[in-house]
């Protein structure tokens, strides 16, 4: 009797267990989505807030956004994790890593495939052309999810311009005019008026796009892994030699690699600089003088110039867990829905106005404009205007860059520039060396990624 009761009890408990278990599975503990990013504070915090908002808006997925170091460090971490069959669902990859991510076809899932597979819909027709172009395949399908894009602009110290008898509302439009302005500023007592951040991005990549110059064959690498660098062209030589001469003349000051020179304008050491549009936030906080934003200068004897500038920043990639290790449908869907959330107009608009990154869509831009934001924040629309310069129609040379091993190539160009600025070589030698060394990197990448 006792035994039968026990047995019945056990049976009841087990069935109950099975039922509650099934219910639990059906209701679903939220699916965990790991998202690794490379944004330091305060931007990282804002990003994590967006993830938190997404989590609060639904029960099925939980995005866990963590800071993994700089963009380069995040890339290394993601690659190592993939090799350990433990890659994150989403990784933020800087723009120059696009080629590497794209070539790793078994590690990354292209965006178009993700959306197709999960049935989530995101409309990319309205996305700013330069943003869309950088992260899409030649046929227009999207490879990764654009998220934080910036471009390069000129920032200048209006007070110093006044002191040098220059019009503080009119930053010079052409490079020769920039040099003249620098001379006047120097005469007015500023030791070295001009500098630049991100020397390669500004003086080679942006420069080529704005002047409709190819940076590499095969449409800047969009057309295949067998591209070769073409930076050794007459206009590029001319501009590099100008920079070298201006440095000798004391007009230009090489401030270091990447964003090392970001502090030179706010601290008052330089009168104007060329930097990422995202530097706006820092200048707002630190500059104790009247300053302005302007579009990048160009050489007006070049027929097509000025075209749009290209973007910098990063995009989001969805990753497989490991080589041959799959993911559940729920995980893929979670990633796709998170991406859709990021593309929502109000989310995208807030991200733009809070951080200074470009608005994702044209209509987002119009919306923010209508709200009077740009009237209150003078100059915040200059980057967008510049991205749309040239009618908003991209050419093969202003679409962006897709070359493998590009971080290394950037360093190579920066190294050759450093040698030139130390007086060890002229512009021609600089570009010859950079081309030669850069092509070695491209060929290595091609060989390593040939399937």
């Amino acid at each position: 009797m006792l035994r039968r009761t026990l047995a019945k009890g056990a049976f009841a408990l087990t069935t109950a267990g099975i039922v509650t278990g099934r219910q639990a599975i059906a209701q679903g503990a939220p699916v965990d989505i790991q998202f690794w990013h490379g944004l330091t504070q305060p931007l990282g915090g804002m990003l994590e807030q967006i993830a938190a908002d997404f989590n609060n808006s639904q029960q099925r997925y939980r995005v866990n956004a963590t800071y993994r170091g700089s963009y380069a460090e995040t890339m290394v971490a993601a690659i190592a994790a993939f090799r350990a069959n433990n890659a994150p669902n989403i990784v933020q990859m800087f723009e120059v890593g696009t080629a590497t991510m794209m070539a790793a076809t078994r590690a990354t899932k292209p965006l178009w495939e993700l959306l197709q597979q999960t049935g989530v819909n995101i409309n990319f027709d309205d996305v700013l052309p330069a943003v869309r172009g950088y992260y899409s395949l030649p046929d227009g399908r999207m490879a990764s999810m654009p998220f934080n894009s910036s471009t390069a602009v000129a920032f200048y110290n209006k007070d110093m311009f006044r002191k040098a008898d220059l019009d503080p509302e009119a930053f010079p439009k052409t490079w020769p005019a920039v040099a003249d302005a620098a001379r006047k500023l120097k005469a007015a007592g500023i030791a070295t008026p001009m500098t630049t951040s991100w020397p390669t991005w500004l003086m080679v990549e942006q420069f080529s796009a704005i002047h409709d110059l190819p940076l590499a064959t095969k449409g800047n690498g969009f057309g295949g892994l067998d591209a070769e660098l073409t930076i050794n062209n007459p206009l590029m030589v001319r501009h590099m030699q100008n920079l070298i001469d201006w440095q000798k003349e004391g007009l230009f000051r090489y401030g270091g690699r990447d964003n090392a020179a970001d502090g030179l304008l706010p601290s008052g050491e330089c009168a104007f600089t060329f930097a990422s549009s995202g530097t706006r936030a820092r200048i707002l906080k630190e500059a104790k003088f009247d300053w302005g934003t302007a579009m990048l200068p160009y050489y007006d004897d070049v027929p097509k110039a000025p075209l749009n500038s290209i973007i910098g920043g990063a995009s989001l990639w969805s990753m497989n867990k490991g080589s041959g290790v799959g993911r559940s449908e729920a995980e893929w869907r979670g990633v796709a829905e998170f991406f859709a959330w990021l593309a929502k107009p109000d989310v995208a608009a807030k991200w733009h106005t809070d951080t200074g990154y470009l608005p994702l869509t044209r209509s987002g831009y119009e919306q923010v404009k209508a709200s009077g934001f740009y009237k209150q924040n003078v100059g915040a629309d200059v980057p967008i205007e510049q991205i749309l310069r040239g009618g908003g129609v991209l050419t093969e040379n202003s679409r962006g860059i897709r070359l493998g091993g590009f971080p290394e190539i950037r360093n190579i160009i920066q190294e050759e520039m450093e040698r030139a600025f130390q007086g060890q070589q002229d512009a021609k030698a600089l570009l010859e060396n950079a081309t030669r060394r850069g092509n070695v990197v491209l060929r290595n990448f091609e060989r390593a990624n040939r399937t």
Partner: protein, 293 residues
């Protein structure tokens, strides 16, 4: 060599050695083997495409002018650091060996830099040599010497040499002092009675007797300069400007971690391994010989 009186037991000693053997296998032999295997492959960053290419990576590395440049930098850097650190330490040790007031205090004051990490030593010297905020940096610029180690390769090399040598002097000092104190006084007294002046005594007697110590220190200093100075370079110059301060070990890091060129980085690692093995083997042979006098 082993003691003649030992304990019985085969399992216990194996168990005692197990922790070290396990850790050594997992974190030393396995990765070392991987490095060698990796150096024979050409693969993409994600490890999806792997091709066996034999010694091709090695051939490319050795033919690469930037690798040769890094090798030259390393030799220049290592010997400069070693010679500077040894000479300064020897001078200080000779002076500290003399029986003078406060010699114990001097010794303490000269030993503590050993505790400073190379990267921190670099940062401290950065505070002195920074063109805008450094005492010496500003003084140099004021004296019309265009000092900016972030733009001038020679200056950058000079700065990393000074920062690295500064830290190493203490280590050498300790050994030189111990070596000096172990020279039998009788030998020195005999020389002094014979009328040899201090300087002559030093070069004909003291220096030769110190030579085993000097040789040992030379190898230690060179190995230090080859490897432990990664922190100095990373903190101060990141191998720049224009690769002026890129040493072989720094290049392994850049090629592997920043450029994701794993085959080349592994090949460079293997070459470095061979160099260290050679240096250590030479040192060990020499020390063995020393034991026999």
């Amino acid at each position: 060599m082993r003691k003649s009186v030992i304990f019985k037991g085969k399992l216990l000693p194996l168990l005692l050695m197990l922790p070290q053997l396990v850790i050594t296998s997992i974190f030393f032999f396995w990765p070392a083997g991987q490095a060698i295997w990796s150096s024979l492959l050409r693969e993409d960053a994600f490890g999806l495409n792997r091709n066996f290419v034999g010694l091709e990576n090695f051939a490319e590395v050795i033919a690469d002018p930037t690798w040769r440049g890094a090798a030259e930098n390393t030799v220049l850097f290592a010997f400069s650091v070693a010679i500077l650190a040894l000479a300064a330490a020897l001078l200080l040790a000779v002076q500290a060996d003399k029986a003078i007031r406060g010699s114990e205090l001097y010794k303490t004051l000269l030993i503590w830099p050993y505790a400073v990490a190379p990267a921190i030593a670099a940062v401290l010297w950065l505070f002195l040599f920074h063109p805008q905020i450094g005492l010496i940096g500003r003084a140099l610029n004021a004296a019309q010497v265009a000092w900016d180690y972030r733009l001038n390769g020679g200056q950058a090399m000079l700065l990393v040499i000074i920062a690295s040598a500064w830290k190493q002097v203490s280590y050498n000092f300790i050994f030189f002092l111990a070596g000096l104190q172990s020279i039998p006084k009788a030998v020195l007294e005999a020389a002094s009675i014979d009328g040899a002046r201090p300087v002559r005594r030093f070069w004909t007697i003291v220096f030769p007797l110190l030579s085993p110590t000097s040789f040992f220190l030379l190898t230690v200093n060179l190995v230090y300069a080859f490897f432990d100075t990664f922190g100095v370079i990373h903190a101060l110059t990141q191998g720049g400007p224009a690769k002026a301060t890129e040493t072989l070990i720094y290049k392994v890091y850049v090629d592997g971690v920043e450029n994701l060129n794993l085959g080349a980085s592994a090949a460079q690692s293997v070459i470095l391994m061979l160099i260290v093995v050679a240096v250590t083997a030479v040192q060990f042979r020499f020390i063995e010989r020393k034991v026999h006098y």
